[in-house]
Symmetry: C2
Subunit: 492 residues, 2 copies
């Protein structure tokens, strides 16, 4: 795999000195166009063995371009805030907005390769991690990001020579540590593991670019020229994503049956039962969140449902029973300017809670496959790929100890009308009804298939949807509290 | 001081039950108006002794209003990311944007009171901390925030009774720990310390409101009603800040002398000397940032100067010599939507680096007293108070181990014209000159007094301004590098 990167590529100093000024100018121009057009974020990964000139290359790119609009990240040990979230959280918070460049020295490949080379994980787990990386990068690409992945390669022989040479010079001797030689002994293992990583994650849209790292001039010039070429390509001729994709969004409706219509909305709870049950589950929930084992988990709740389905009331019955200091509600409205410059899921990632806390999303990332689909705010290709992206997102939350609950609150069309009219006539609730609500109601029939598809595709074992018959508010609220308590209990 | 809060205030259950529904409705309406008008952020502090119903009150406010737009913060131990920044960083990141409510259970008072009561700091240091808090709150108020500070009070006798009562009931016995009785023994000390804190920080715009905490109904109703009254006052009749203030912005110019004009702009360095000095200081800077002691510090650099004064070139000479992974540049442009919903300094606070890193601000918080003053983007009262706010900000950075360097790059009017023309004729630099630059040049005479006032008021021992004669680029760059190395050396 690395054959082309062991040919002894070199660039003469005279050639280098002649080429660099024009390259710099062109790169600066491209960077300027990128910044003004805000066409896409640019993500550059620089990976490879120790001593293969990774940080040198990153520094050179900073030198050649305007460093004010480049952010360079190393792979430090994660902070405690990062350790309390899914592994990928630290990378999400480092993603560049549109128009900016980000260089990752290390990146999301560091951990899986290091763990595999050290024998702490086996191939199945390794492949799984690589597959997650592949899907993450695909998501970024689908969101319009440009990703360039450089693998800096040194043959075993070149690596030995490099270390010997450094050791031989009294001025550079200090740079070679015992750890370097220990890593050198692992060369073959690292090589084997890396090759597998590259094989599994070299995709059409984000291939690995192998760069021979013996000659620094060659290495820098190759990286610079590749970056320039790709930037110009993207700036001058942006790729168009297919708007319509050739796959069935849903099965045709033959018999009028669907999961929503099959709900029994006549289920009720009388006031006395409700009061008793409410007290019971609120008390239980409070105790659960004060349980010692709860500190190792967090709870992520999603509330979806048509307008006036009772989301707010249900949320309130939860917040009433837990300490406000450990509970954070994120009401989802239009994204802010900073959020719009990032991939769709970014604004949810940034609101993931630390351990020992509850996060409630009043509407959520499912907006992509509900309102955005129905209103045509995004292309079919976008919402069709969102199902998979969402499942990946939730799996990562689950893998880091998160308990995910997703509630779909269901009411009938008639009940919605009744509640709308009630709201209009109540000063107490006047602000709960808007023109938008009436407009959305008109689209009831378009929402139904979208909801059914969402339930089919995203109700997973680790993050199941709970359908809540909310025609009777008491019944719905108790079902939610009971489900919540049950899921936490299972996990403690 | 606490006399009014030891009168045995009580509210009958019947009164409470009768009052709460109307209060809730009014609070919800006020909160809705706040959210739609985005008039100001609302910051509610709930402080006081353990067991004085602080979190109960916070929970009740969440229950009465729409919890989706309230964020409640406890005072957990700071995370490592927080520990590597000034003490107040954690509160800055929790500040609510305009239109939202934030409840602090604990807040910025917790640490000073706790330290003083524990005898770890003495009164001078305590008073200093309180003074910092006072200025922080004044800044928030000047920025338009509404602050309500509730002090929950229990007399010693009431506190003893409360603990005894809890212990007496087998159902609540677990809630009383040895720590509670230990705290009780410190009651008088805490009381004395708290009184001093309240005395020093009760200001006209943010007075402490003492609430007797014996009767929960009284406590909640008082807090709810006060909040409602203040919200309505603010919403219906926003306070107007004086636009023009009665203080001299600068001394009259009698003799044409000022600090900028006194600079010797003829200072030069020839190319050979420059190359030698550049190599020397870049090497030294690189070594300094790899020094072990550097990990306990961070470097915050500010670059200001007229257009084309050479800020970019100077920044580049610094970034060239340090690892890109530990250096972050924040170019200051127009604030984003999220930044506009926060106090002026918020966007700089959010970019403060962790330890062992360098942060470069290409233009900075000084925009307030330069461009915003000259262009009239803010009122005189705003930029006049900015000097003090900025000094406070920098002092906090310094106190947490930050090394602050501020460079003012000075060139003559003629040199600026020469550089503008050069830029216009160079394809390489074409994007460095805009219509704005020519427009700003017209305002040269208005900028001069603004710069002089800035230097006079914000060049402090802990964060001095370095005036850089940049007529000759070589001279200017070396002066900057030499100053930077010197300041880091002093601090390691």
């Amino acid at each position: 795999m690395f054959e082309s990167a062991e040919l002894g590529h070199r660039v003469q100093k005279s050639v280098y000195d002649q080429e660099v000024p024009a390259l710099r100018e062109a790169l600066l121009n491209a960077q300027f166009d990128l910044g003004t057009s805000k066409k896409c974020p640019v993500i550059i990964l620089i990976a490879g063995l120790d001593g293969a000139g990774k940080s040198g290359t990153a520094n050179t790119l900073n030198e050649w371009m305007d460093p004010r609009f480049i952010q360079t990240h190393g792979t430090d040990a994660p902070s405690d805030e990062e350790l309390e979230r899914p592994h990928m959280w630290r990378f999400w918070r480092q993603l560049p907005p549109k128009g900016r460049i980000c260089i990752f020295d290390g990146s999301w490949y560091a951990w899986p390769i290091f763990e595999r080379a050290g024998g702490r994980i086996k191939n199945p787990k390794f492949d799984q991690a690589l597959e997650e990386v592949r899907r993450f990068e695909q998501m970024l690409i689908d969101e319009g990001a440009m990703i360039l992945k450089f693998w800096m390669h040194l043959s075993k022989d070149a690596q030995r020579k490099r270390l010997k040479k450094l050791e031989g010079d009294p001025l550079t001797r200090w740079r070679v540590t015992e750890r370097d030689w220990k890593h050198f002994e692992l060369y073959d293992t690292f090589q084997e593991v890396s090759e597998r990583a590259l094989r599994h994650t070299s995709t059409a849209a984000a291939p690995w670019i192998q760069v021979e790292a013996v000659d620094a001039r060659y290495q820098k010039l190759i990286v610079g020229k590749t970056l320039l070429e790709q930037l110009r390509l993207r700036l001058d001729r942006p790729p168009s994503r297919p708007e319509i994709i050739q796959a069935p969004a849903a099965l045709p409706d033959l018999d009028g049956k669907n999961i929503l219509r099959s709900l029994d909305l006549t289920q009720k709870l009388d006031k006395a039962d409700y009061d008793r049950e409410l007290e019971k589950y609120q008390g239980r929930l409070n105790l659960l969140t004060r349980h010692k084992a709860f500190r190792d988990h967090n709870v992520i709740m999603v509330f979806e449902g048509v307008d006036a389905a009772g989301k707010g009331g249900a949320v309130r019955r939860i917040t009433q029973s837990v300490d406000a200091r450990i509970c954070h509600i994120t009401p989802i409205a239009a994204p802010t300017e900073e959020e719009r410059a990032q991939p769709y899921l970014w604004r949810f990632w940034r609101n993931l809670p630390r351990k020992g806390r509850l996060a409630i999303f009043d509407r959520s990332w499912y907006g992509r496959v509900l309102v955005e689909r129905v209103e045509g705010y995004c292309a079919e290709a976008d919402w069709m790929s969102a199902y998979g992206e969402i499942n990946d997102f939730e799996e990562q939350i689950h893998d880091s100890g998160g308990i995910i609950l997703k509630f779909w609150l269901s009411i009938s069309r008639e009940e919605q009308l009744r509640r709308f009219e009630e709201r209009q006539n109540s000063s107490f609730k006047r602000f709960k009804i808007t023109e938008d609500d009436w407009r959305n109601r008109e689209k009831w029939d378009s929402y139904e298939p979208a909801v059914c598809a969402m339930l089919d595709r995203t109700s997973t074992e680790i993050a199941p949807w709970t359908l809540v018959e909310s025609e009777d508010k008491y019944f719905g609220r108790i079902k939610i509290l009971r489900t919540l308590c049950g899921r936490i209990e299972e996990n403690l």
